[in-house]
Symmetry: C2
Subunit: 387 residues, 2 copies
């Protein structure tokens, strides 16, 4: 295959951006062949903002059965990602899903099974994996230069959202429509970065989610989670959509130093010896291992969606390795599920979680919801500059 | 009074430093008149490292009854601070206690009652209050420039200690001898800064203390605490003596901006309008209030012990206001007690705490201790460069 025919389903904020990217030829080896949206206005928008002959569908089944696409980019609301992906795998399509992989771990795992059986190229839009800062951090950890990890601290509070963002769609920030708030939507990238750079999944999580703290929504917009790892390391993860200017800071402490990623800069404090060795051998009472403060040059531009789409197309055409395999999407989703459970039950949650139990609890949230969304504007927002 | 006759009791790491400071005339209006130590070696050290006629006592009662001092600086191990202070107040002395004010809230409150009845000048060695960075932070908050506080994040992991530190005295890092570890000793300054700069005491705390995680000790050397405030704000407090180079970073987020104190620098991100106002009035979906990044010049040198001693002497002679009134020492102690309780019971703890209950639980820790200290060197360490 030298030119992959791509279809986009879901022409909301982010889908619209992908449509333009593909249609403008910004992805080498890909062409925008078809789109699908239930919303007449969005179909009109596609007709007015694309060039060439784009097949247009209102119905998902017809789109999947009749369009001439090899590969599908799924940009619908969260809940539908696993079901749509499974249907696309059934049709033998390559699949790229927007994040999150899904809302609850149970059907994300089912999607992963379907992907495995199908054998097509399956990617997920974890575009922060294309961020050279996090790639370098991952290298430092995985190559052992940081030593055994002791502590992680990730503050991601710079995805501020005003009330009008939540009012822009009926499904947003509801248990039924989105299945969660800042965790599943804005902070999911960093939850993936947390597990991807360290290579560790938490083994236990204690968390507090504040629901509608800064906005008139029924889901969480402010979260603090405490995580514990198998090796004894601990960590804190903080996110909120109610702070300005917010913070985006990731600190990882190891036996051989510390890394801080903040303000688009990576600083590595490198010890000249293992702290654990120093601890037992030094006899002076007050003293610490020597260290160097190293600012590591990081090449390339910031992560963006086009890197992930291009990587997915390259994987289809050339067999290039995927930066963000779709199957790995479940990890951040499971972390969010554990955080929700811990907050709902007010107790520590062990991972892997009981996926059936989480599904039940989520259904309770949906079924017991009495929240009425007000002032819904049903507008599509320009995502330029967001993640 | 134009020259205050000061006595120092407890000639350990920090007491020795105070003795030299007073004896070298570094505190205006004060003279070192007497010292008291049970340890012959430390008495010898005083004789060899001071000039002039210093009264020397081995017995605490004799020291309090017979020495010709007006004011006492208490630098003994933690447990004894409240009892000694009460005895000194009984004798009509001015008192400056080393931190912590005590180990458990109950007898610290009793000490405060005694101080009130006595009416003498009562200070505590919270020398970080003399740090102009924290003074400026406090001004920004107390003057309302930061707006209502939303979140605090304080990481204080730069007081690294190797095993030989803990081996230097038998009482160190035991429930019986010290009553706690990094919280009561190294991180107490920052717990005070947390409450002093914000003006808020937590109303609820959830915490995990890891005991002997990085050292062969029976108390905690690694702590993560999640705090909630009356106004709905939340915060995280992290401390450890097992990390190098460690972090000393305090972030405070308010409705009108954010302050970060790190690397001896204060940066104020000042919004041009209230976030709460922007949230309801902005209609564009994606957008945030404008802000300015302001690096606030901070005058003066870093906090040190001499500032607090000088301030205490000035309060005695001239009636100057105390920067760190002794009565306020109870606040950080109560926060540590709540953190310990939460960790021991694995549940959230409300403040004010039940002081009798905490005392009981601490006695259990002491009575059930089976820890045997090994390799105790009984050396006095040079504290130059520590806090």
């Amino acid at each position: 295959m030298s030119l992959v025919k791509v279809g986009v389903i879901g022409i909301g904020n982010i889908g619209s951006s992908h449509v333009q990217m593909l249609n403008r030829g910004q992805i080498e080896g890909a062409t925008l062949t078809a789109i699908c949206s239930r919303n007449e206005n969005r179909i009109e928008w596609v007709k007015n903002h694309t060039i060439g002959d784009i097949q247009v569908y209102k119905d998902e089944e017809t789109f999947l059965n009749e369009s001439e696409i090899d590969a599908i980019l799924i940009a619908t609301p969260h809940y539908s990602h696993p079901e749509l992906a499974k249907k696309a795998f059934d049709k033998g399509m390559h699949v790229l899903i927007e994040k999150p992989a899904g809302v609850y771990t149970k059907n994300v795992l089912e999607m992963n099974e379907a992907a495995k059986s199908c054998g097509k190229v399956f990617g997920i839009m974890y575009n922060q994996r294309a961020n050279p800062l996090y790639q370098k951090l991952r290298d430092l950890i995985q190559s052992g230069q940081l030593g055994d990890i002791k502590r992680t601290n990730l503050i991601i509070t710079d995805s501020y959202r005003p009330q009008s963002y939540y009012d822009s769609s009926k499904w947003r920030a509801t248990w039924k429509g989105e299945g969660g708030g800042v965790l599943l939507n804005q902070a999911l990238h960093q939850l993936d970065i947390l597990q991807w750079t360290t290579g560790y999944m938490p083994k236990r999580i204690r968390a507090v989610c504040s629901l509608g703290k800064y906005h008139n929504i029924e889901v969480e917009d402010d979260v603090t989670a405490y995580v514990e790892y198998e090796n004894g390391a601990t960590g804190v993860f903080i996110t909120s959509t109610g702070e300005v200017p917010g913070t985006n800071r990731f600190e990882v402490v190891g036996d051989r130093g510390k890394v801080v990623v903040e303000n688009e800069e990576l600083i590595f404090y490198q010890l000249t010896q293992s702290e654990r060795e120093f601890n037992t051998s030094f006899t002076g009472g007050f003293g610490k291992p020597e260290y160097r403060k190293i600012n590591i040059p990081v090449k390339g531009e910031n992560a963006n969606h086009s890197s992930i789409i291009q990587n997915w197309i390259d994987a289809i055409i050339k067999g290039s390795p995927l930066l963000a395999p779709g199957e790995e999407g479940v990890k951040a989703v499971e972390i969010t599920n554990a955080i929700y459970l811990s907050s709902w039950l007010n107790q520590p949650i062990e991972l892997p979680i009981d996926v059936d139990f989480y599904y039940e609890k989520l259904q309770e949230k949906i079924n017991h919801s009495t929240f009425e969304k007000q002032n819904v504007s049903n507008v599509t927002l320009d995502v330029t500059g967001t993640h």
